[in-house]
Amino acid sequence: MFGQLLIAGIVHGLIIGLAALAVTLVFGVARFPNAAAGDTMTVGAYAGFAAHRASGSLLLAGGAAVVAAGLVSLLGYLLVFRPLARRPVAALLVAAIGVAFLIRAVLGLIFGHQQHVFQVPLAWPIEVMGIRIPPMDITLAAVAACALAAAFGVLHLTSIGRQMRAVADDPDLARVSGIRPLRVMVALWLLAGAAAGVAGLMLGVKTVVSPEMGWEGLLTAFAAAILGGIGSPIGAVAAGLLLGVAQEISTPIVGFTYKIALAFAVMLAVLLVRPRGLFGRVEGVR
């Protein structure tokens, strides 16, 4: 039973980790918690679902999710968040909620409100040491690992990734070093959108696709980003895994509905006790 929950928690945690990666990248560089991240996930799920229904290929679905969510994320930046960059953070917060609602409304109008299920072939679970693992979980874990590897590759091995981290560390220093902010921001929002898109697709395959799915996952993603330390990609993934496992293991004890409340409690505790999270740098959150 425990092993079973642990496996479910790891898959769930990878999804949270990817979503938290999207949140933490934007939070670290653009410096506000993007409430539209959840609905960007939903975009990925629906794009993936449509591509999968048309072609039957999960690979194509992944491509569609990455492209669609990345583009929506970039559009949100260019049309809304960029013009607001010099305004108080409250303006960005309210606008992000607006973007989230708008995305959810458009998806609801296009795809309807009924839940969709990915038609994936059923397969017998593989039994390892008494723990039954569905093959789909292995596929999803592999997808998440590839997506994370790609994201970290971009962040650590490419020039634009280095620039991103430089802007995250010290925007003014980055600017005087000749880093062009617009290029960095475009890459950043594309990357964050793509990560959210993959997370949404995975969540859709694992559960169901509905217009509310991303919004419902948003608080958990915020909690993981804060627990991991804002602006720390590694922290986001580690915290996502921790939260995912904690949520799955606590479900038999506290019940299904308190999953989000658990995330909220963790977030509060971290903010009050150790605001820089597990891996974050020292920064004023107060």
Binding site: R31, F32, P33, A35, V80, P83, L84, R87, P88, V89, A90, A91, L93, V94, A95, I97, G98, V99, A100, F101, L102, I103, R104, A105, V106, G108, L109, G112, H113, P211, L219, F222, A223, I226, G255, T257, Y258, I260, A261, A263, F264, M267, L268, L271, L272, G284, V285, R286
Partner: protein, 296 residues
């Protein structure tokens, strides 16, 4: 027709109360409260549950305000220590936790089935027009008192301090004032107003369920406040009226042509319109329609 007008006037007045609560928190003090609906829900359930034990409504209303303010206390203690953006996330999480708790704790709240048969306000006057008019009169009076109180606060030394918290907290601290105490008081005051609004809602609608308290309600109030003009009492009132016009207008449109668009699609259109309004107002008209033009 009169019954319909009275009904939307009552709901509109409930939104005025909510918007006044948010005005004192965000408009005057700059606290980004994204969990307003949580206090609204607490007020509604508190008043409903207490009055169903046979307690007179006047007392249950007072309890609703007191309990909502009491819950705001720990949130205020957290707020002292957090930056705006973190505070927004925490309050949003708070309101969702309230909703989940209502959904889960069936022994108290009857879960998703909800609480039917909450005692109607002014039940002695009957279900029809006289009772509704009396409710409207009562809530209008409360709105007026709240608006006068806020006006008074805005012009008082207390008001100057909380506006200073909004504009420059460090400078205020340098002058020897402690923002902490003021923030907690402001949060509790706004929460109490939301709690009273919740109590009116409970005893007017007479049925409560957790899905009435989704975050969308919080952002209806934000939309009202931003449209009306942030930081002004008149802005809260004008904004709530505009919000009602919008909510009832979209319903009316659908009733005119029910075949054209389904109910769920209309819900999407409404959600999208709220989103678009939040985006466009913050982008192009942050001061709202009757906002303070002397200041950004």
């Amino acid at each position: 027709m009169e019954a319909y007008l009275v009904a939307i006037a009552i709901i509109g007045a409930i939104y005025v109360l909510l918007a006044l609560g948010l005005t004192v928190q965000y408009g005057l003090t700059g606290l980004v409260n994204f969990g307003h609906v949580g206090f609204f829900a607490i007020g509604a359930y508190a008043s409903a549950l207490i009055s169903m034990q046979g307690v007179p409504l006047v007392l249950s209303f007072v309890c609703a305000a007191a309990i909502a303010a009491l819950v705001a206390w720990p949130i205020g203690l957290v707020a002292l220590r957090l930056r705006d953006d973190y505070f927004a996330v925490v309050t949003l999480g708070f309101s969702e936790t309230v909703r989940l708790t209502i959904t889960s704790e069936k022994w108290l709240t009857n879960g998703v089935q909800g609480i039917p048969g909450v005692p109607r306000a002014f039940a002695g006057l009957g279900v029809g027009m006289p009772g509704a008019l009396a409710t409207l009169g009562a809530i209008a009076l409360v709105c007026l008192l709240a608006a006068l109180m806020l006006r008074r606060i805005a012009g008082s030394p207390f008001g100057r301090v909380i506006e200073a918290i909004r504009d420059n907290e460090d400078a205020l601290r340098a002058l020897g004032k402690d923002p902490a105490r003021f923030k907690i008081q402001v949060l509790a005051l706004g929460a109490a107003l939301a709690g009273v609004a919740g109590a009116f809602y409970a005893h007017y609608i007479t049925y409560l369920s957790p899905d009435q308290f989704i975050p969308l309600v919080t952002f209806y109030v934000w939309m009202a406040m931003i449209m009306g003009g942030v930081g002004r009492v008149s802005g809260a009132v004008v904004g709530a009226l505009l919000l009602m016009l919008f909510l009832e207008g979209t319903r009316f449109l659908r009733d005119l042509a029910p075949d054209l668009i389904s109910a769920v699609d209309m819900a999407s259109v409404r959600l999208g319109a709220v989103g678009l309004a939040l985006i466009l107002f913050t982008l192009f008209r942050p001061q709202g329609l009757v906002g303070d033009y002397t200041r950004r």
